[in-house]
């Protein structure tokens, strides 16, 4: 094959083109739209009633817990993908080892369920 380019280069081209398209749409809208600023239009939207409270309030810790559990299971998934590509080479040894890995994680998952960490409200 004559000039074969680095496989990451198309990602860069795609990013740049995507940015141009999205940025172009934003700029086009900015240039083409009428400009009639009005304090009522620019106010916080709360179904038309005056705003109660600010947006800067504390939120539930369940989001944090969901995100942390997501990291941990994401890491597990990445390791499992590493096993999956070598499934044929590793044969039963791989299956057993990964079975131990997944078993430990299932223990953790059962703990999560029993503790009720995933109950939302």
């Amino acid at each position: 094959m004559a000039a074969s380019i680095n496989p990451y280069f198309p990602i860069l081209i795609a990013f740049v083109l995507g940015l141009l398209i999205a940025g172009g749409a934003t700029i086009a809208s900015f240039l083409l739209g009428p400009k009639k600023p009005n304090p009522a239009k620019l106010d916080v939207y709360e179904c038309g009633v005056p705003v109660v409270g600010t947006a800067r309030q504390r939120l539930s810790v369940k989001f944090y817990l969901t995100a942390i559990l997501f990291i941990l299971f994401d890491i597990e998934t990445v390791f499992l993908y590493l096993w999956a590509v070598l499934f044929d080479e590793l044969q039963w040894f791989g299956i057993v080892e990964v079975g131990l890995f997944v078993g430990t994680l299932i223990v953790g998952y059962v703990y999560i369920l029993r503790r009720g960490a995933l109950d939302w409200d």
Partner: protein, 189 residues
């Protein structure tokens, strides 16, 4: 014109500059977004070094999961900028910055790197036994994912199994932290 080298240098310089910008931001969300950009640049650099699996895992796990936790925590705390401390630099911060500069010089030169690799080798944590009957696993360098996987299962098997316990510990720790305070005041969810 070696485009790979040029891209690598450009990405490296951009990542360094962005990291420096990140630590001087007043708004935590800006710092988090800049860190995501740095992680993406790092993933690009991994890709240019032909570490394809590391590049993909960097984005999936680091930029896509760990930074999500950062962003969630920042958005959960919802601190208005007035509550974040900013002001003059203290003596302690200056000492820390000097230490960071010394560390960067040490790691960036041959001396520091020599010390580092000797330290890692002496740990010897990750040596596993090649199982009976397993074929030797070597793939061409372009099959990076298979090479990483074979390395993980042949050389670093112990580390792989220990990771599962590490994850278990992290699960338990996260739940203990998050569930400890059953606050009576209602919070929005």
């Amino acid at each position: 014109m070696d485009w790979n080298f040029v891209s690598f240098v450009v990405m490296g310089i951009a990542a360094s500059i962005l990291s420096g910008t990140m630590i001087t931001r007043r708004r935590p969300v800006s710092a988090a977004m800049i860190l995501i950009a740095v992680m993406t640049l790092l993933a690009g650099m991994f890709g240019l070094l032909e570490a394809h699996f590391a590049a993909a895992a960097q984005i999936i796990v680091y930029a896509g999961a760990i930074m999500v936790v950062f962003v969630f925590v920042i958005m959960l705390l919802n601190l208005p900028p007035e509550e974040l401390r900013y002001g003059g630099i203290t003596l302690g911060e200056m000492i820390l910055i000097a230490f960071g500069v010394v560390l960067a010089i040490a790691l960036g030169t041959q001396v520091g790197q020599g010390l580092l690799t000797r330290g890692v080798e002496s740990m010897g944590l990750a040596i596993g036994q090649t199982p009976e009957g397993a074929r030797p696993l070597y793939f061409p360098p372009s099959e990076n994912v298979k090479n990483v996987a074979s390395s993980m299962f042949v050389d670093y098997l112990w580390a792989f199994e220990l990771v599962s316990f590490l994850i278990l510990a992290a699960v338990i720790g996260a739940i203990v932290i998050a569930k400890k305070r059953s606050t009576p005041n209602a919070t929005a969810s």
